[in-house]
Amino acid sequence: MQKFTKLTGVAAPMPIINVDTDMIIPKQFLKTIKRSGLGKNLFFEMRYDDKGAEKPDFVLNKPQYRKAEILVAGDNFGCGSSREHAPWAIMDFGIRCVISTSFADIFYNNCFKNGILPIKLAQADIDKLMDDANRGANATISVDLEAQEIRGPDGGVIKFEIDPFRKHCLLNGLDDIGLTLEKKSKIEDFEARRAQQSPWLAATGSR
């Protein structure tokens, strides 16, 4: 997984509540068997008309946001399905950090598996960053994961909270599976205990 340490970039404003996973990446793009290449279809229906032409009013189609690396969004971002294609598409577009008052649980979790930093902030902070984001390429925002700080274009600092283990994994680009396999003996012990205590769970249709 790609590390996340510091990021300075243009933030795109998306002041819409309940941006769901179908909006982020619609179903026709879930037929891929790869993780890559989804960025061009990010926010597909908001971004392109039914002929496939760009809608000029959509934020990521505006010249100043075409290379946005941060997204500032409304409440409950990423609600809906478990599709990891949503963070894959965001990452592939080039966005490494999403900032909102709240995220849906599965989406939030999926971000950390893909080197994307989701940041939860109070509404007042979101309002401030949304204003900054509206200033486009003239107003870059800096995110420092180690320090848990966001710096706006005018130098104001916003602190954010993050789970320490997730922070550690993101800072170091750690692979969860590798970490878990270091605990293999604990998994084996658990399975041995379970075979004693609830043998019906060991295999389906057990006698």
Binding site: I16, L179, E191
Partner: protein, 467 residues
């Protein structure tokens, strides 16, 4: 005396492999359901790292999202869909995972297949790369949706890294009025708590109105939990649960069954256990519900009107409502019963079980589809289809002018060829009314199976109690 625990706490504790100092837990996963859409990259990850599936016998795969619901003998016409199903078939062979192919009568929507095979069991942890995994909580199992990276993690280790969720109790007491179903209860609750109301929580549903639901109804209620923002919903198992599971092919047998039931009977929240959040509702307050917007929380009683965005309590919500009304092509103040529909979809992991089809058939009997309306009835599995045909339900639907199809996810998310055209409006028994969900610029109104039939035969959203 131990501290009183919730049902969720008990299942969580019983599956702890390890707990790190920072509170991150390694949770053992008893059952893993796999489908074609969210698994290819996970299997590829195993291949690249030379890892195996740790417990193939605790894993079950089925293709459901991409499968056609008619002319199956011709295979899957759309190339990408076909490749995705073929990829699953190659993966299950390479990694030795049990699989129900499209030609198998046991094939169906993954969340219908699990319970009907007895793969789903009380007290078990169940995951799937699909947010509607919450369905299985109806059996008192801790079941939740995961992303593809986590699918790979479970395949490789049979565990997941998780932080404990908060406990939420939703109690519904009293008796559901006539014409009001588990689906209406689910939509009503989401309307009250909001689509992010359950974020960070596991919801336990309780109260006599919940206990009175059939297993099918409980599955519908738990299925919609994710639409209220919680990853998992639970109902304590009882005799109804055990009766449903007894004799199912993958359920325990003999002495194992006896021991299992004895344990399952202990799976309930202790008196005095702490819930972080509690909501209490009265069943009598619930009417047949219908959504008007593009989030499941955008819901009103069928007797109500399209709400006015100016009634919203904050600017974000107001903008959201305006956006939803523009997308849905609706005006505030319009009575819900004046909204004409073009399509009806009866099926999905929410409402594709035999009881749903029985409820639909009971109303469809002797009636005809309204002119210009297309109705798809898509059973949740091959076995549901077989049962429905044994009861003659298929003939009732066909006589009413409905289309009787093969099992799959179908028009719930329109990944196969069952989809709406731009601007078309559908009364749907599925779970999501998001923008574009049933096809680009499609308009979805979520309803119960009975309400879906009422819309089918009148051509507009209709109060089933007045049919």
């Amino acid at each position: 005396m131990a501290t009183p625990s919730t049902l969720f706490d008990k299942i969580w504790q019983a599956h702890l492999v390890d707990r790190q100092e920072d509170g991150t837990c390694l949770l053992y996963i008893d059952r893993h359901l796999v489908h074609e859409v969210t698994s290819p990259q996970a299997f590829e990850g195993l291949r690249v790292t030379g890892r195996k599936v740790r417990k193939p016998e605790q894993t079950l795969a089925v293709a459901d999202h991409n499968v056609p619901t008619k002319d199956r003998d011709k295979g899957i016409a759309e190339e990408e869909s076909r490749i995705q199903v073929e990829t699953l078939e190659a993966n299950i062979k390479d990694f030795g995972v049990p699989y129900f192919p499209m030609s198998d009568i046991r094939q169906g929507v993954v969340h219908i297949v699990g319970p009907e095979q007895g793969f789903t069991l009380p007290g078990a942890t169940i995951v799937c790369g699909d947010s509607h995994t919450a369905t299985h909580g109806a059996f008192g199992s801790l079941a939740f949706g995961i992303g593809t990276s986590e699918v790979e993690h479970v395949l490789a280790t049979q565990t997941l890294l998780q932080r404990p969720a908060k406990n939420m109790l939703i109690e519904v007491t009293g008796t559901l009025p006539q014409g009001v179903t588990a689906k209406d209860m689910a939509l009503y609750i989401i309307g009250k708590i909001g689509t992010a109301g359950g974020t960070g929580h596991v919801i336990e549903y309780a109260g006599d109105a919940v206990v009175a639901l059939s297993m099918e109804g409980r599955m519908t209620l738990c299925n919609m939990t994710i639409e209220g923002g919680a990853r998992a919903g639970l109902i304590a198992p009882d005799q109804k649960t055990f009766d449903y599971l007894a004799g199912k092919p993958m359920a325990p047998k003999g002495a194992n069954w006896e021991a299992a039931v004895m344990y399952w009977k202990t799976l309930k929240t202790d008196a005095g256990a702490h819930f972080d959040t509690i909501h209490r509702f009265k069943a009598e307050d619930i009417a047949p519900m219908v959504t008007w917007g593009t989030s499941p929380e955008d819901v009103v009683a069928i007797t109500d009107v399209v709400p006015d965005p100016s009634s919203a309590h904050d600017e974000g919500k107001k903008a959201g409502m305006e956006r939803a009304l523009a997308y849905m092509g609706l005006k505030a103040g319009t009575p819900m019963t004046e909204i004409a529909i073009d399509h009806v979809f009866i099926g999905s992991c929410t409402n594709g079980r035999i009881e749903d089809l029985r409820a639909a058939a009971e109303l469809a009997k002797g009636r005809k589809v309204a002119a210009g309306v297309q109705v798809l009835v898509v059973p949740g599995s091959g076995l549901v289809k077989e049962q429905a045909e044994a009861e003659g339900l298929d003939e009732i639907f066909i006589d009413a002018g409905f289309e009787w199809r093969d099992a799959g996810c179908s028009m719930c998310l329109a990944m196969n060829t069952d989809r709406l055209k731009p601007g078309e409006r559908c009364a749907s028994t599925s779970n999501r009314n998001f923008e574009g969900r049933q096809g680009r610029d499609s308009r979805t109104h979520l309803v119960s199976p009975a309400m879906a039939v009422a819309a089918a035969v009148t051509g507009k959203l209709t109060d089933v109690r007045k049919l």
